[in-house]
Each structure stands twice: as C-alpha cells, then as structure tokens.
C-alpha cells in the first residue's frame, strides 16, 4: 500500500516575520516506519510537522502523503490520513466531555450514529480511557489528557500518526505507559521530541534537524552512537546509552 507513504522534497518555509524555518528538507518515510525527528530548539521540528497535514503550506518544495500531493483540494483527504497529536493536549481537547471530544472528528466526517459510538468507544478502549468518557477534560491528569488526545485522533482511523512532543509534561510512569501504547500501533509514526530515550524505544529511524536542514537521517542506533554528530545537533546521547553514572564516576 502506498497509502502510508510520506514524501517531503526540497521543502522550504519562511515565517511571515522573515525567520527562515526550513531550508530544503528532503526525506521519504515508508509504510509502517516509525521515525523520530530530533534537533535543538528552533531547529524546525514543529514547522516540519505542521507541513505534514497542511497546517502550513510550503513556500517551496512538495509534500506528498500517500497518493496525494498536498494542495488545497487534497487537504481534507490528507487530514483524514494524517492524524496529528498536538504538544499541549488542552489545545486539542476543546469539547465539554471526553466522549464529545473523541466523537468530534468522526461526526465531522459524517459517520452514522452507531458507527460513531463504536469508533469512539474503540478508540477510548485502545488508550485505556473508556472509564473517562463522561468526564470534562479539565478534570483529567496530564497522562489522561494525553491518552484522550491520542484517542481523539485514533477515532478518525488515520494511517499516519504525527506527534509533537508526546512525552512532555508526563511523569515517568505515564510516559512508560504511553511508550507501551505507541509500540502496539501499526501506523506509520512521525514523532518530534527532545526525549531521545523515547525515540530509542519507539523509532528504528531518526532524522536530525539543524537550522532548518537535515543534518543526518539513518538508523536510530547508529545516529545516537555518533557523539560528534549529536554534539553538532545540540543533542546528547540518550540516558540509557550513557552507562551507569555511579560506575562511570569511579
């Protein structure tokens, strides 16, 4: 299936205030791949993600999702294919109850009431939040909000999941639960994060961005073992690859 393909070619973007955020990015993500996008603050991670489902339109270059290249006409189809989980779940959970929020996407897509019910409950059960369905979002914990935000995207059954900092603001236990949950998904995943350990656990491939350009693109382990490359990208080896702090100091 070419459905789950993400292809970005010579992508450039400049913000209205003349900040050049992306300067010629090219990569291709295949069906079922899990890719981590890492880089320093301001390297262009979020800007890149915003292009993957048409929140921003490229100044130059092209974005192709599956069989469609991103244009105004294909936007609806692309947004159905690409599910975006935002950094701040409060931005995504805008309806009065969890159920309403998860049902928001399917309702807009025009499903029948029975199917909406089924989709919402299936999505909530997948993330283990079925018991929260009547709760208002402001009463949820950070981890619960994140789970519901993911469910709200899953309910639209996207082929590709795009996530911006999925582990930010989570406690270690909630973070571990999230990683385990994401491991069970067969979607193509694109995850932008500073949490390199999460990338190590979830993504077999990593793209390092620097100043709006691709600094490196390859197998996660190879990239995280290259100390010089990491330093260049303002990164550091993931903690799990740094060895024991007690033994090292001896």
């Amino acid at each position: 299936m070419s459905h789950h393909l993400v292809e970005v070619k010579d992508l450039e973007y400049t913000y209205p205030d003349n900040t050049k955020a992306l300067c010629g990015i090219t990569f291709r993500i295949l069906h079922g791949e899990s890719v981590g996008i890492v880089g320093a603050n301001g390297a262009g991670k979020s800007t890149l993600l915003s292009h993957l489902n048409g929140i921003l339109t490229p100044a130059a270059g092209t974005v192709r999702i599956g069989d469609y290249s991103l244009t105004k006409q294909t936007l609806r189809q692309i947004r159905r294919t690409v599910g975006m989980v935002f950094q701040d779940p409060d931005d995504q959970l805008f309806m009065p109850t969890v159920y309403d929020d998860v049902a928001f996407g399917p309702l807009n897509l025009g499903f029948l009431p029975d199917e909406i019910e089924q989709r919402v409950m299936a999505a909530l059960e997948t993330v283990g939040a079925a018991h929260l369905k009547n709760r208002p979002p402001y009463r949820l914990s950070g981890g619960q909000k994140r789970s519901v935000a993911i469910a709200s995207v899953l309910a639209m059954s996207p082929d590709i999941l795009v996530m911006d900092e999925p582990s930010s603001g989570l406690d270690p236990f909630a973070r571990r639960k999230l990683i385990k949950l994401l491991l069970t998904f067969t979607h193509t995943k694109v995850i932008a994060t500073h949490d390199l350990d999460l990338v190590l656990d979830l993504c077999e491939r990593t793209i390092v961005l620097k100043d709006g350009k691709v600094l490196a693109d390859g197998p996660t382990l190879a990239i995280f073992s290259d100390a010089a490359l990491l330093e260049q990208g303002h990164l550091e080896k993931p903690f799990s690859m740094q060895g024991c702090p007690v033994c090292n100091s001896r």
Partner: protein, 270 residues
C-alpha cells in the same frame, strides 16, 4: 493566587451538581431551558408596584431545589453575590418616590419601598432560576438545548468555548500574577504601570492559543458546525414539565393569588 484558585473551585461547583440523577436532572435540557426562559420573562414583566403577586412564583425555585436534591447554601451564596448590583439599581426608588402605599399604625410604607422590594424579589427569582438551570442541566446541556431551539450557532460555540477555556485562562492569569508578585516585593497589588503589559501578554497568549485550537479543530474536519452527538428525545414528562410550569407562571401573572386569597378570607369574616 490562592484567591483565584478558590474562585476556580467555586466556578465549577455549580456545573458539577449537574451530574446528579434526579427527576429534574433527567428532564430534557430543552424543556428546562424553555421553562426557565418563560419564568424569567414572566418575573420581569411584573409591574413595579406589585410585590405580593410575585410570592407564588417562589414555588418554582423551591420545587427545583427539593426535587433536584440540590444543596441550598452554594446557591444562596451565588445569589447573594449579585445582590449589591441589584440593590444599587433599586436604592433610589424609596428616596425619590414618597407617595403612600399603605399605613400600618404609625409606619408609612411608601411606593418607593414597594418598588424597591419588587425589584429585589424579581432579580433574586430570575438569578436563582438561571443558577438552578445550570445546576440541573450543566453548561453542555444548555448549549445543546440552545442549539436545538435554533439560537445562532456562532453564539452557542462562543459560549461553549468560553466555558471550556475560562479555566485555562484563569490559571494563566493566576500564574502571571504570581510571577509578578514574586518579583515585586511590595504587597500592594499590581502597579498601574505593569497592568497594561500584563493584560497585553495575556491577550497575546490567548490569541496564540485560539490559533492552536482552531488548527486542532481544522485537523479534525471542523467546517463551522459543532455537532453534538445527543439524541434527546422529548418525552411525555418533558412536555408536562414545560407546559405545566409555564401555564402556572402565566396564571400567577394574570391573577394576583395572594390578593384573591386575602379577599376570600375577609369575605368569609363578613
């Protein structure tokens, strides 16, 4: 900061009462909304010299509180909060209008005082009816009902979102004030020089958030319509509730029951 947080808890308390499961809670939101609207219209339509005629209307809030199993003190506290405004509206009436309404012994009751108490009573009735609507229906129920009775969707969406994000905005205000206080060292509140930039900051942040929320909505197929997935069937008791109460309110408006009862009694003694 502590004050603001306490207010946050207060803010939601009423809405949480709406999760109850009593006869009143189970009624169709539309029925409750329409009944409350009729109630408020009838209450406000009373002429200002009429005080006794209003009394039978007190049955409505009392019935809702007892049937809806609602705690009285939080409701009373919120009604009391609005009192200063009401008092200011009516306080000049006794000073301006000295015409005698009636006399009990040496005490003269002027029409000014009658109209003052009439304003007071009407306002308290209207405010408590609105609060009871929120406490038995919840904001989302009210919004769904407004949607059903064809209130423009722009207004309903505004209301829905304002209610959802009020909490987050207040939290942000709280954080900003705390950050200010931690570095101002004077316990005199926010200086007038800083107010402008603080409010400006909040506005910018609010606009940013609005942009992000809009994007999140667009990503999930938002096309200008909020679809609330609720099949609210109108049942026999909903119709009975709405029509029964509305008929009662209009009857009370037409017939001054206390006066009629009074004349019945005095007739009896003759």
């Amino acid at each position: 900061m502590i004050k603001i947080e306490a207010q946050l808890v207060n803010l939601r308390h009423l809405d949480e009462l709406a999760t109850g499961n009593t006869v009143i809670h189970r009624l169709n939101p539309c029925a409750k909304l329409l009944t409350t609207m009729v109630f408020i219209i009838v209450v406000t339509s009373f002429p200002k010299q009429m005080l006794a005629g209003l009394i039978p209307l007190c049955i409505f809030p009392v019935a809702l509180v007892s049937l809806g199993d609602l705690p009285v003190s939080p409701l009373v506290r919120r009604v009391v909060l609005t009192l200063p405004f009401i008092v200011f509206i009516g306080i000049f009436n006794p000073l301006l209008d000295h015409s005698v309404a009636f006399q009990i012994g040496d005490v003269v009751i002027s029409n000014g005082w009658i109209s003052f108490f009439s304003i007071l009573t009407r306002s308290i009735l209207a405010v408590s009816a609105a609060l009871l609507l929120v406490a038995t229906t919840g904001m989302e129920g009210i919004c769904a009902a407004l949607y059903q009775i064809k209130v423009p969707k722009v207004l309903v969406i505004q209301l829905l979102f304002m209610y959802r994000y009020l909490y987050i905005l207040l939290e942000e205000v709280g954080r900003t004030i705390q950050a200010y206080n931690l570095r101002s060292f004077e316990d005199t509140g926010i200086g007038y020089k800083a107010v402008g930039s603080l409010v400006g900051q909040l506005l910018m942040r609010t606009l940013d958030r609005a942009q992000r929320i809009y994007v999140a909505m667009r990503c999930r197929g938002f096309d200008g319509n909020i679809r609330l997935n609720r099949q609210t069937r109108v049942q026999y008791q909903d119709v009975a509730f709405a029509f029964g109460w509305s008929a009662f309110f209009i009857f009370v408006r037409m017939v001054n029951i206390p006066q009629w009862l009074g004349s019945l009694l005095t007739e009896g003694y003759r």
